[in-house]
């Protein structure tokens, strides 16, 4: 019997799809299972236990790194989102002009330049600045995270703006709203889901960063990912499984919350 053509009926399609799901979720499932393992070896299941979660949460170094990550990520995500919102407005709320595509490419630079290159470049500059100013605080990491988070915040905000009818803002101006009122009463409320998505994305990307942070952090400035990397270099402990599982749980909750919130908005 002839069936209407559909990619679903392509030979091998199901197999490829299953492979993708396997590679994505099997490792994660394994990790989660081992996080609840009572034994201390990675590779042999010895019954259910919350032991590694307790150990991880009692580890001062982990808590310190986690708190540092949770300091950097919201600040960097906030500044990145503000910058991205302004950039998105500037590239959508006008008639297209010459050089606009170039501007967008400049904003998206961190997506295209290999991260390791940026990391080396920042290391070179920041080590100089450290010598000149004597400042060795978290500012460097926050500045770097802000810069590379901008395109991640920019993409959803711009996507949202492109679907928004420019005549709404014209109509508001026609109804006696000054530019700031137009922004506050029309643009911002309608753009809010995009801004929230941009912030979330920037937050997660900052929280997760290893390469740039590893290069530019000063002594004793471990974030959670760089701490984990440092630990893994010595030996793999089930403690890492527990932290990663917590990490996973938090991101699933954050993303689901955001999804529910944005659906309610529209």
């Amino acid at each position: 019997m002839a069936r209407p053509h559909s990619v679903r009926h392509q030979r091998g399609f199901t197999f490829i799809a299953l492979m993708c799901f396997f590679l994505l979720y099997l490792p994660m499932a394994t990790m989660v299972v081992f996080a609840f393992n009572a034994g201390s070896t990675v590779g042999q299941l010895d019954g259910f236990s919350l032991r590694w979660f307790r150990t991880a949460l009692a580890n001062d170094q982990i808590i310190e790194a986690l708190l540092r990550s949770l300091t950097i990520a919201p600040i960097a995500a906030f500044f990145a989102t503000v910058a991205a919102t302004m950039a998105a407005l500037a590239t959508t709320r006008t008639a297209p002009y010459r050089g606009m595509a170039l501007k967008v490419a400049f904003i998206n630079q961190p997506l295209m330049v290999p991260e390791i290159v940026t990391a080396v470049a920042l290391l070179v500059v920041f080590s100089r600045v450290k010598v000149w100013t004597g400042y060795t605080g978290l500012g460097y990491i926050i500045a770097a995270h802000t810069a590379f988070c901008i395109p991640f915040a920019f993409l959803p905000i711009r996507a949202r703006l492109e679907t928004m009818d420019l005549s709404l803002e014209t109509a508001a101006a026609d109804l006696y709203a000054r530019p700031w009122s137009v922004f506050r009463r029309i643009t911002l409320p309608l753009l809010w889901p995009g801004i929230l998505a941009g912030f979330m994305l920037a937050f997660v990307v900052s929280l997760d960063d290893v390469v740039i942070t590893e290069f530019i952090k000063s002594a004793g400035q471990e974030t959670l990912p760089t701490y984990m990397l440092g630990q893994l270099r010595r030996n793999v402990t089930p403690e890492m499984n527990a932290i990663s599982t917590l990490f996973l749980a938090v991101s699933v909750i954050v993303v689901s919350l955001f999804f529910l919130l944005s659906r309610k908005k529209t």
Binding site: L168, T170, A171, A172, A173, D174, L175, P189
Partner: protein, 360 residues
Amino acid sequence: MFSALPAIEVRDVVKSFGDARALDGVSVRIKENEFFTLLGPSGCGKTTLLRLIAGFDYPTSGEICLHGKDIAGMPPFARPVNTVFQNYALFPHMTVAQNIGFGLEMQGKPRSEIAARVDQMLALVRMETLRSRRTSQLSGGQQQRVALARALAPQPRVLLLDEPLSALDYKLRKEMQGELKRLQTETGITFIFVTHDQEEALTMSDRIAVMSGGRILQVGNPRDIYDNPQERFVADFIGEVNFLAGQVIGIDGRTARVRLAAGGEVVAGLPEGATPVGRATVIVRPEHAELRGPTEQADLRGRLEQVVYFGTDTHLHVRLADQSEFVLRQQNSPRGTADLQPGAEVAIAFKPGAARVLKD
């Protein structure tokens, strides 16, 4: 109170976009309390003119005065002029009542006044029961009403309407035409209405400006525009018309005697301020001509080529001596016109005043 001054006066306005001239020297005076229509095909500059009056764009040169005060350089939020947009542009995150109250709120009116005015507007457009709805839950006709109420609520001096009925289906459009006319009469606000639909323009307007190529070709009341078009474009764009080539052979006051290329001579009215000599074009509307028997006194003679039945009327296509075609429209009656057969020799008589000379 402003009766001496026009509501809107546009003087020598030019608007260029790069090399293209969207408006090429437009001047027009729109009276207080008038339903004024800008009519023309797409790209004629009617929407550009409306946007200049609203303040969404600024003229390259020229003046736009509101009750005698030049507003051409004023931002839109400073002009006592409101717009009904083609796509309505209702704020999707606000209720019907919030949409209607937005302009008053931005003007800093007290809450109680806003509430009272919103109620009044909801009653005016007959939407009282839908005040707390989101605009996305409304039908096209209802959205149209909210857009009107929102633009009327701040009591603007002038209301601009940019093809507001084009998104509605035929029946609703007819209904809204009556509604708009009623609102204009009840509120006494000057309406400037943009459309490409000649029927809409003829049925609703006090006066019409016909635009083409960034210019206003003719301004007049609907009868005037329809019966006395001055230029070929105006005659052609509004309704159907027969063009007859001819030669002016004498002038008597406001009429000219014209010898037609298709044979015969007619007396035709002259356009304002023009006394053509030599070649001229005479126009006659299809319903302003009558069919006569071949032996009767007539203005034109020819051979009937086609009879097309249209329900309310019948169109008769007649081939004239110079091979041009002349179309007549005959109102149908229950007895019908069964005796008309293609190929018959016929004569055509013009009703008094039907023939007009164009400015060429």
